[in-house]
Protein backbone atom coordinates (compact mmCIF):
# COMPACT_ATOMS: atom_id res chain seq x y z
CA UNK A 1 0.00 0.00 0.00
CA UNK A 2 1.26 3.44 -0.94
CA UNK A 3 -0.57 6.40 0.53
CA UNK A 4 1.79 9.10 -0.66
CA UNK A 5 0.20 11.87 -2.72
CA UNK A 6 1.34 12.79 -6.21
CA UNK A 7 2.11 16.50 -6.77
CA UNK A 8 -1.28 16.88 -8.52
CA UNK A 9 -3.17 15.23 -5.66
CA UNK A 10 -1.29 17.30 -3.09
CA UNK A 11 -2.05 20.49 -5.01
CA UNK A 12 -5.77 19.70 -5.19
CA UNK A 13 -5.92 18.81 -1.50
CA UNK A 14 -4.18 22.02 -0.60
CA UNK A 15 -6.40 24.15 -2.86
CA UNK A 16 -9.57 22.63 -1.41
CA UNK A 17 -8.45 23.19 2.19
CA UNK A 18 -7.51 26.78 1.39
CA UNK A 19 -10.82 27.50 -0.34
CA UNK A 20 -12.77 25.86 2.49
CA UNK A 21 -10.97 27.75 5.21
CA UNK A 22 -11.28 31.07 3.42
CA UNK A 23 -14.77 30.86 1.98
CA UNK A 24 -17.01 28.36 3.76
CA UNK A 25 -16.93 29.39 7.41
CA UNK A 26 -18.20 32.95 7.47
CA UNK A 27 -21.34 33.44 9.55
CA UNK A 28 -21.49 29.74 10.41
CA UNK A 29 -22.52 30.19 14.06
CA UNK A 30 -25.56 32.22 12.99
CA UNK A 31 -26.41 29.91 10.10
CA UNK A 32 -26.20 26.97 12.49
CA UNK A 33 -28.72 28.65 14.80
CA UNK A 34 -31.06 29.32 11.90
CA UNK A 35 -30.53 25.88 10.32
CA UNK A 36 -29.57 27.59 7.09
CA UNK A 37 -28.00 25.73 4.16
CA UNK A 38 -25.25 27.57 2.29
CA UNK A 39 -26.03 27.53 -1.42
CA UNK A 40 -22.96 29.66 -2.01
CA UNK A 41 -20.80 27.11 -0.22
CA UNK A 42 -22.41 24.33 -2.24
CA UNK A 43 -21.65 26.22 -5.45
CA UNK A 44 -18.02 26.89 -4.50
CA UNK A 45 -17.40 23.23 -3.66
CA UNK A 46 -18.95 22.19 -6.97
CA UNK A 47 -16.75 24.70 -8.81
CA UNK A 48 -13.73 23.03 -7.23
CA UNK A 49 -14.93 19.74 -8.71
CA UNK A 50 -15.72 18.10 -5.38
CA UNK A 51 -19.24 16.90 -6.21
CA UNK A 52 -18.10 14.95 -9.24
CA UNK A 53 -14.80 13.59 -7.99
CA UNK A 54 -15.49 9.85 -8.48
CA UNK A 55 -17.67 10.31 -11.57
CA UNK A 56 -16.09 9.71 -15.00
CA UNK A 57 -15.25 12.78 -17.05
CA UNK A 58 -17.68 11.76 -19.79
CA UNK A 59 -20.52 12.41 -17.32
CA UNK A 60 -19.12 15.69 -16.05
CA UNK A 61 -16.96 14.36 -13.22
CA UNK A 62 -13.25 14.27 -12.47
CA UNK A 63 -12.60 10.50 -12.90
CA UNK A 64 -10.75 10.49 -9.59
CA UNK A 65 -10.04 7.23 -7.81
CA UNK A 66 -11.46 6.45 -4.39
CA UNK A 67 -8.22 7.30 -2.59
CA UNK A 68 -7.97 10.69 -4.28
CA UNK A 69 -11.63 11.31 -3.52
CA UNK A 70 -11.36 10.64 0.21
CA UNK A 71 -8.07 12.53 0.32
CA UNK A 72 -9.76 15.64 -1.07
CA UNK A 73 -12.84 15.27 1.14
CA UNK A 74 -10.54 14.94 4.14
CA UNK A 75 -9.06 18.35 3.38
CA UNK A 76 -12.53 19.79 2.82
CA UNK A 77 -13.40 18.66 6.35
CA UNK A 78 -10.19 20.17 7.65
CA UNK A 79 -10.84 23.61 6.20
CA UNK A 80 -14.62 23.71 6.38
CA UNK A 81 -16.22 24.00 9.81
CA UNK A 82 -19.66 23.73 8.24
CA UNK A 83 -20.06 20.00 8.83
CA UNK A 84 -23.67 20.24 7.62
CA UNK A 85 -22.56 21.42 4.19
CA UNK A 86 -19.99 18.62 4.00
CA UNK A 87 -22.69 16.12 5.02
CA UNK A 88 -25.08 17.37 2.32
CA UNK A 89 -22.38 17.03 -0.32
CA UNK A 90 -21.64 13.48 0.84
CA UNK A 91 -25.31 12.47 0.78
CA UNK A 92 -25.54 13.85 -2.75
CA UNK A 93 -22.50 11.88 -3.89
CA UNK A 94 -22.94 8.50 -2.25
CA UNK A 95 -26.71 8.07 -2.18
CA UNK A 96 -27.48 9.35 -5.64
CA UNK A 97 -24.49 9.87 -7.95
CA UNK A 98 -22.87 6.52 -7.17
CA UNK A 99 -25.96 4.27 -7.57
CA UNK A 100 -26.93 6.25 -10.67
CA UNK A 101 -23.48 5.66 -12.10
CA UNK A 102 -23.55 1.91 -11.38
CA UNK A 103 -27.17 1.09 -12.18
CA UNK A 104 -28.41 3.91 -14.41
CA UNK A 105 -29.22 3.56 -18.09
CA UNK A 106 -27.06 5.56 -20.46
CA UNK A 107 -29.96 7.97 -20.90
CA UNK A 108 -30.35 8.45 -17.13
CA UNK A 109 -26.64 9.00 -16.62
CA UNK A 110 -26.33 11.53 -19.44
CA UNK A 111 -29.45 13.34 -18.30
CA UNK A 112 -28.64 13.73 -14.62
CA UNK A 113 -24.97 13.20 -13.79
CA UNK A 114 -23.58 16.36 -15.43
CA UNK A 115 -25.98 18.52 -13.41
CA UNK A 116 -25.24 16.62 -10.20
CA UNK A 117 -21.48 16.99 -10.76
CA UNK A 118 -21.71 20.71 -11.54
CA UNK A 119 -23.88 21.30 -8.48
CA UNK A 120 -26.75 22.64 -10.60
CA UNK A 121 -28.82 19.74 -9.28
CA UNK A 122 -29.01 18.74 -5.62
CA UNK A 123 -29.67 15.10 -4.83
CA UNK A 124 -30.27 12.57 -2.09
CA UNK A 125 -32.11 9.35 -1.40
CA UNK A 126 -35.21 8.28 0.49
CA UNK A 127 -34.98 4.86 2.13
CA UNK A 128 -35.94 5.12 5.82
CA UNK A 129 -39.58 5.05 6.86
CA UNK A 130 -41.33 5.58 10.19
CA UNK A 131 -41.24 1.80 10.87
CA UNK A 132 -38.12 0.76 8.98
CA UNK A 133 -34.70 2.10 9.92
CA UNK A 134 -31.96 -0.47 10.44
CA UNK A 135 -34.38 -3.08 9.04
CA UNK A 136 -34.41 -1.06 5.83
CA UNK A 137 -35.81 -3.70 3.48
CA UNK A 138 -39.01 -4.06 5.47
CA UNK A 139 -40.11 -0.75 3.97
CA UNK A 140 -43.84 -0.30 3.34
CA UNK A 141 -43.79 2.08 0.37
CA UNK A 142 -45.26 0.35 -2.67
CA UNK A 143 -44.83 0.81 -6.41
CA UNK A 144 -47.45 -0.60 -8.77
CA UNK A 145 -46.87 -0.70 -12.51
CA UNK A 146 -49.78 0.76 -14.47
CA UNK A 147 -49.08 0.98 -18.18
CA UNK A 148 -45.86 2.90 -18.67
CA UNK A 149 -45.87 4.34 -15.14
CA UNK A 150 -45.33 3.19 -11.59
CA UNK A 151 -47.66 4.52 -8.94
CA UNK A 152 -45.88 5.02 -5.61
CA UNK A 153 -47.54 5.31 -2.21
CA UNK A 154 -45.82 5.68 1.14
CA UNK A 155 -44.00 7.90 3.57
CA UNK A 156 -40.24 8.53 3.91
CA UNK A 157 -38.35 10.02 6.84
CA UNK A 158 -34.81 11.28 7.56
CA UNK A 159 -34.30 12.36 3.96
CA UNK A 160 -31.12 14.42 3.80
CA UNK A 161 -31.34 17.34 1.36
CA UNK A 162 -35.08 16.75 0.81
CA UNK A 163 -36.09 20.40 1.30
CA UNK A 164 -33.62 21.54 -1.37
CA UNK A 165 -33.37 18.44 -3.58
CA UNK A 166 -34.00 18.46 -7.31
CA UNK A 167 -33.67 14.69 -7.70
CA UNK A 168 -34.17 11.86 -5.21
CA UNK A 169 -33.61 8.12 -5.34
CA UNK A 170 -36.71 6.67 -3.69
CA UNK A 171 -36.99 3.02 -2.67
CA UNK A 172 -40.32 1.17 -2.91
CA UNK A 173 -41.46 -2.43 -3.10
CA UNK A 174 -42.97 -3.62 -6.40
CA UNK A 175 -43.98 -6.96 -4.89
CA UNK A 176 -44.27 -7.00 -1.08
CA UNK A 177 -44.68 -10.80 -1.10
CA UNK A 178 -41.10 -11.06 -2.39
CA UNK A 179 -40.05 -8.92 0.57
CA UNK A 180 -36.44 -7.67 0.07
CA UNK A 181 -36.34 -9.06 -3.46
CA UNK A 182 -39.16 -6.68 -4.43
CA UNK A 183 -37.39 -3.51 -3.34
CA UNK A 184 -36.74 -1.25 -6.30
CA UNK A 185 -35.19 2.19 -6.80
CA UNK A 186 -36.86 5.08 -8.63
CA UNK A 187 -35.54 8.49 -9.64
CA UNK A 188 -38.01 11.19 -8.69
CA UNK A 189 -37.71 14.79 -9.75
CA UNK A 190 -38.88 17.43 -7.36
CA UNK A 191 -41.97 18.33 -9.37
CA UNK A 192 -43.19 14.73 -9.80
CA UNK A 193 -47.00 14.78 -9.29
CA UNK A 194 -47.94 13.17 -5.98
CA UNK A 195 -44.56 13.82 -4.34
CA UNK A 196 -44.83 16.16 -1.37
CA UNK A 197 -42.25 17.38 1.10
CA UNK A 198 -44.36 17.23 4.23
CA UNK A 199 -42.09 18.85 6.76
CA UNK A 200 -38.63 20.19 7.42
CA UNK A 201 -37.08 18.30 10.36
CA UNK A 202 -34.95 20.08 12.96
CA UNK A 203 -31.93 18.13 14.22
CA UNK A 204 -29.51 18.18 17.14
CA UNK A 205 -26.50 18.75 14.89
CA UNK A 206 -25.55 19.17 11.24
CA UNK A 207 -28.18 21.89 11.32
CA UNK A 208 -27.02 23.52 8.09
CA UNK A 209 -27.82 20.30 6.21
CA UNK A 210 -31.56 20.34 5.48
CA UNK A 211 -33.53 17.20 6.29
CA UNK A 212 -37.16 16.47 5.55
CA UNK A 213 -39.92 13.92 5.18
CA UNK A 214 -41.64 12.83 2.00
CA UNK A 215 -45.18 11.76 1.30
CA UNK A 216 -45.97 9.78 -1.83
CA UNK A 217 -49.67 9.92 -2.67
CA UNK A 218 -50.42 8.08 -5.92
CA UNK A 219 -47.15 9.50 -7.11
CA UNK A 220 -46.78 8.66 -10.81
CA UNK A 221 -43.29 7.90 -12.00
CA UNK A 222 -42.51 7.07 -15.64
CA UNK A 223 -41.14 3.52 -15.98
CA UNK A 224 -38.01 4.95 -17.61
CA UNK A 225 -37.19 6.53 -14.22
CA UNK A 226 -36.77 3.15 -12.52
CA UNK A 227 -33.12 2.74 -11.54
CA UNK A 228 -31.93 -0.74 -12.45
CA UNK A 229 -34.18 -3.76 -12.70
CA UNK A 230 -37.29 -4.45 -10.67
CA UNK A 231 -36.09 -6.00 -7.42
CA UNK A 232 -32.57 -4.57 -7.72
CA UNK A 233 -33.10 -2.19 -4.82
CA UNK A 234 -31.32 -4.31 -2.25
CA UNK A 235 -28.31 -4.65 -4.48
CA UNK A 236 -28.41 -0.99 -5.37
CA UNK A 237 -28.66 0.07 -1.74
CA UNK A 238 -25.80 -2.23 -0.68
CA UNK A 239 -23.59 -0.73 -3.38
CA UNK A 240 -24.51 2.79 -2.37
CA UNK A 241 -24.06 2.09 1.35
CA UNK A 242 -20.67 0.49 0.87
CA UNK A 243 -19.40 3.59 -0.90
CA UNK A 244 -21.09 5.75 1.70
CA UNK A 245 -19.65 3.90 4.70
CA UNK A 246 -16.16 4.00 3.27
CA UNK A 247 -16.20 7.67 2.25
CA UNK A 248 -18.81 9.69 4.14
CA UNK A 249 -16.55 10.33 7.12
CA UNK A 250 -13.47 11.34 5.14
CA UNK A 251 -14.33 14.91 6.05
CA UNK A 252 -14.58 13.93 9.71
CA UNK A 253 -10.95 12.81 9.62
CA UNK A 254 -10.02 16.32 8.54
CA UNK A 255 -12.30 17.75 11.19
CA UNK A 256 -10.59 15.64 13.86
CA UNK A 257 -7.22 16.98 12.73
CA UNK A 258 -8.47 20.56 12.98
CA UNK A 259 -9.98 19.88 16.40
CA UNK A 260 -6.74 18.37 17.60
CA UNK A 261 -4.73 21.37 16.44
CA UNK A 262 -7.21 23.71 18.14
CA UNK A 263 -6.99 21.75 21.36
CA UNK A 264 -3.17 21.55 21.37
CA UNK A 265 -2.97 25.31 20.84
CA UNK A 266 -5.47 25.87 23.64
CA UNK A 267 -3.65 23.48 26.00
CA UNK A 268 -0.40 25.37 25.38
CA UNK A 269 -1.96 28.81 25.85
CA UNK A 270 -4.29 28.20 28.78
CA UNK A 271 -2.57 28.33 32.17
CA UNK A 272 -3.94 27.03 35.46
CA UNK A 273 -2.10 26.40 38.74
CA UNK A 274 0.89 28.25 37.32
CA UNK A 275 1.49 26.16 34.20
CA UNK A 276 0.11 25.30 30.77
CA UNK A 277 -2.82 22.90 31.15
CA UNK A 278 -1.15 20.65 28.54
CA UNK A 279 1.52 19.90 31.13
CA UNK A 280 -1.07 18.13 33.26
CA UNK A 281 -0.98 14.47 32.36
CA UNK A 282 -4.76 14.08 32.45
CA UNK A 283 -5.11 16.77 29.77
CA UNK A 284 -2.13 15.51 27.75
CA UNK A 285 -3.58 12.01 27.75
CA UNK A 286 -6.76 13.27 26.11
CA UNK A 287 -4.69 14.94 23.40
CA UNK A 288 -2.61 11.80 22.85
CA UNK A 289 -5.77 9.72 22.53
CA UNK A 290 -7.19 12.25 20.04
CA UNK A 291 -4.00 11.89 17.99
CA UNK A 292 -4.15 8.08 18.07
CA UNK A 293 -7.83 8.11 17.04
CA UNK A 294 -7.04 10.48 14.18
CA UNK A 295 -4.25 8.29 12.82
CA UNK A 296 -6.15 5.00 13.10
CA UNK A 297 -9.20 6.58 11.49
CA UNK A 298 -7.11 7.93 8.63
CA UNK A 299 -5.41 4.56 8.11
CA UNK A 300 -8.73 2.73 7.85
CA UNK A 301 -10.15 5.41 5.56
CA UNK A 302 -7.19 5.23 3.19
CA UNK A 303 -6.98 1.43 3.28
CA UNK A 304 -10.62 0.98 2.30
CA UNK A 305 -10.24 3.50 -0.54
CA UNK A 306 -7.01 1.92 -1.74
CA UNK A 307 -8.57 -1.55 -1.80
CA UNK A 308 -11.51 -0.19 -3.77
CA UNK A 309 -9.09 1.28 -6.29
CA UNK A 310 -7.59 -2.24 -6.61
CA UNK A 311 -11.03 -3.49 -7.67
CA UNK A 312 -11.80 -5.30 -4.43
CA UNK A 313 -15.16 -5.43 -2.69
CA UNK A 314 -14.74 -3.70 0.65
CA UNK A 315 -17.81 -4.60 2.71
CA UNK A 316 -15.72 -5.36 5.79
CA UNK A 317 -13.30 -2.46 5.40
CA UNK A 318 -16.12 0.03 4.77
CA UNK A 319 -17.95 -1.04 7.93
CA UNK A 320 -14.72 -0.83 9.95
CA UNK A 321 -13.89 2.64 8.62
CA UNK A 322 -17.40 3.88 9.36
CA UNK A 323 -17.38 2.43 12.86
CA UNK A 324 -13.91 3.60 13.81
CA UNK A 325 -14.19 7.13 12.42
CA UNK A 326 -17.64 7.85 13.81
CA UNK A 327 -16.78 6.61 17.30
CA UNK A 328 -13.46 8.45 17.20
CA UNK A 329 -15.06 11.67 16.01
CA UNK A 330 -17.60 11.65 18.84
CA UNK A 331 -15.03 10.81 21.51
CA UNK A 332 -12.54 13.38 20.24
CA UNK A 333 -15.19 16.10 20.06
CA UNK A 334 -16.18 15.21 23.62
CA UNK A 335 -12.54 15.45 24.69
CA UNK A 336 -12.25 18.81 22.92
CA UNK A 337 -15.14 20.15 25.01
CA UNK A 338 -13.52 18.79 28.17
CA UNK A 339 -10.12 20.32 27.36
CA UNK A 340 -11.76 23.71 26.84
CA UNK A 341 -13.62 23.35 30.15
CA UNK A 342 -16.50 25.81 30.60
CA UNK A 343 -15.53 27.62 27.40
CA UNK A 344 -16.02 24.39 25.49
CA UNK A 345 -19.65 24.40 26.55
CA UNK A 346 -20.17 27.95 25.27
CA UNK A 347 -21.40 28.35 21.72
CA UNK A 348 -18.99 31.19 20.89
CA UNK A 349 -16.01 28.83 21.11
CA UNK A 350 -17.59 26.64 18.43
CA UNK A 351 -16.41 23.42 20.04
CA UNK A 352 -19.82 22.33 21.31
CA UNK A 353 -21.16 22.47 17.75
CA UNK A 354 -18.48 19.98 16.69
CA UNK A 355 -19.77 17.52 19.29
CA UNK A 356 -23.38 18.02 18.20
CA UNK A 357 -22.35 17.51 14.57
CA UNK A 358 -20.33 14.39 15.38
CA UNK A 359 -23.05 12.52 17.27
CA UNK A 360 -25.17 11.77 14.21
CA UNK A 361 -22.31 9.85 12.63
CA UNK A 362 -22.99 6.98 14.99
CA UNK A 363 -26.46 6.70 13.48
CA UNK A 364 -26.52 7.51 9.78
CA UNK A 365 -25.28 5.09 7.10
CA UNK A 366 -26.05 2.30 9.55
CA UNK A 367 -25.65 2.64 13.30
CA UNK A 368 -22.47 1.59 15.06
CA UNK A 369 -24.36 -1.49 16.23
CA UNK A 370 -25.19 -2.40 12.63
CA UNK A 371 -21.55 -1.87 11.59
CA UNK A 372 -20.46 -4.22 14.37
CA UNK A 373 -23.02 -6.80 13.24
CA UNK A 374 -21.70 -6.63 9.67
CA UNK A 375 -18.10 -6.90 10.81
CA UNK A 376 -18.91 -9.85 13.07
CA UNK A 377 -20.72 -11.67 10.25
CA UNK A 378 -17.86 -11.04 7.83
CA UNK A 379 -15.44 -12.37 10.45
CA UNK A 380 -17.36 -15.64 10.21
CA UNK A 381 -19.16 -15.28 13.53
Amino acid sequence: MDFSWTPEQAQLRSAVAEMAEGELNEGLAERDKRGEFSREGWRRCAEMGIHGLPVPEEYGGASAGALTTVGVLERLGYGCKDNGLVFSINAHMWTLEIPLLAFGSEEQKRRFLPGLCSGALIGGNAMSEPDSGSDAYSLQTTAVLRGDRYVLNGNKVFVTNAPIADLLLVFANVDPERRPSGVTGFLLERDTPGLTLTRHVEKMGLKTSPMGELFLDDCEVPARMRLGKEGAGQNLFTHSMTWERSCILAGAVGTMERLLETCVAYAKGRRQFGQQIGKFQLVATKLVDMKARLETSRALLYKAAWLRDQGRSIFLEAAMAKLQISESWVQSAQDAVAIHGGYGYMCEYEVERELRDALGSRLYSGTSEIQRSIIAALMGL
Binding site: A102, F103, Y137, R178, P180, S181, G228, K229, G231, A232, Q234, N235, L236, T238, H239, G311, R312, S313, F315, L316, S373, I374, A377, L378, G380
Partner: protein
Protein backbone atom coordinates in the same frame (compact mmCIF):
# COMPACT_ATOMS: atom_id res chain seq x y z
CA UNK B 1 -9.46 -23.09 -17.03
CA UNK B 2 -10.89 -24.30 -13.76
CA UNK B 3 -13.41 -27.15 -14.32
CA UNK B 4 -17.03 -26.27 -13.58
CA UNK B 5 -17.33 -29.18 -11.17
CA UNK B 6 -14.47 -27.78 -9.12
CA UNK B 7 -16.08 -24.34 -8.87
CA UNK B 8 -19.42 -25.88 -7.93
CA UNK B 9 -17.83 -28.05 -5.25
CA UNK B 10 -16.03 -25.08 -3.74
CA UNK B 11 -19.15 -22.88 -3.74
CA UNK B 12 -21.26 -25.68 -2.32
CA UNK B 13 -18.80 -26.34 0.46
CA UNK B 14 -18.74 -22.66 1.40
CA UNK B 15 -22.53 -22.36 1.46
CA UNK B 16 -22.89 -25.51 3.55
CA UNK B 17 -20.31 -24.46 6.10
CA UNK B 18 -21.34 -20.80 6.35
CA UNK B 19 -25.10 -20.77 5.90
CA UNK B 20 -26.32 -24.34 6.38
CA UNK B 21 -24.15 -25.78 9.16
CA UNK B 22 -25.22 -29.28 10.17
CA UNK B 23 -27.43 -29.75 7.11
CA UNK B 24 -27.13 -32.82 4.91
CA UNK B 25 -24.85 -31.96 1.99
CA UNK B 26 -27.03 -34.07 -0.26
CA UNK B 27 -29.93 -31.69 0.32
CA UNK B 28 -28.09 -28.84 -1.39
CA UNK B 29 -28.48 -29.39 -5.12
CA UNK B 30 -26.89 -27.17 -7.74
CA UNK B 31 -30.40 -25.93 -8.50
CA UNK B 32 -31.57 -25.34 -4.91
CA UNK B 33 -32.83 -21.74 -4.64
CA UNK B 34 -30.70 -19.73 -2.21
CA UNK B 35 -31.85 -16.12 -2.45
CA UNK B 36 -35.55 -16.70 -3.02
CA UNK B 37 -35.58 -19.33 -0.23
CA UNK B 38 -33.98 -16.90 2.22
CA UNK B 39 -30.73 -18.85 2.68
CA UNK B 40 -28.80 -15.93 1.25
CA UNK B 41 -29.94 -12.74 2.97
CA UNK B 42 -28.24 -9.36 2.57
CA UNK B 43 -25.36 -10.07 4.97
CA UNK B 44 -24.89 -13.60 3.63
CA UNK B 45 -24.64 -12.16 0.13
CA UNK B 46 -21.80 -9.89 1.27
CA UNK B 47 -19.99 -12.92 2.68
CA UNK B 48 -20.53 -14.94 -0.49
CA UNK B 49 -19.30 -12.16 -2.78
CA UNK B 50 -16.22 -11.65 -0.61
CA UNK B 51 -15.54 -15.41 -0.71
CA UNK B 52 -15.92 -15.62 -4.50
CA UNK B 53 -13.60 -12.68 -5.09
CA UNK B 54 -10.91 -14.05 -2.82
CA UNK B 55 -11.24 -17.71 -3.78
CA UNK B 56 -11.31 -17.24 -7.55
CA UNK B 57 -9.57 -13.86 -7.91
CA UNK B 58 -12.53 -12.39 -9.76
CA UNK B 59 -14.42 -9.13 -9.38
CA UNK B 60 -18.17 -9.27 -8.88
CA UNK B 61 -19.81 -6.10 -10.18
CA UNK B 62 -22.47 -4.34 -8.14
CA UNK B 63 -25.31 -5.25 -10.47
CA UNK B 64 -24.29 -8.93 -10.44
CA UNK B 65 -24.86 -9.48 -6.72
CA UNK B 66 -28.54 -10.27 -7.27
CA UNK B 67 -31.01 -13.11 -7.51
CA UNK B 68 -30.36 -13.54 -11.24
CA UNK B 69 -26.70 -14.36 -10.66
CA UNK B 70 -26.59 -15.84 -7.16
CA UNK B 71 -29.79 -17.80 -6.67
CA UNK B 72 -28.32 -21.27 -7.10
CA UNK B 73 -24.94 -22.98 -6.97
CA UNK B 74 -25.31 -23.36 -10.73
CA UNK B 75 -25.91 -19.60 -11.20
CA UNK B 76 -23.01 -18.70 -8.93
CA UNK B 77 -20.65 -21.07 -10.69
CA UNK B 78 -21.65 -19.76 -14.09
CA UNK B 79 -21.00 -16.20 -12.92
CA UNK B 80 -17.55 -17.16 -11.65
CA UNK B 81 -16.68 -19.15 -14.76
CA UNK B 82 -17.71 -16.23 -16.99
CA UNK B 83 -14.95 -14.21 -15.34
CA UNK B 84 -12.12 -16.75 -15.37
Amino acid sequence: MVPKEQVQASVKQFILSEFLPGEDAGELETTTPLVSAGILDSIATLKLVTFLEEQFSVQIDAHEADVDHLNTVEDISNLVLSKL
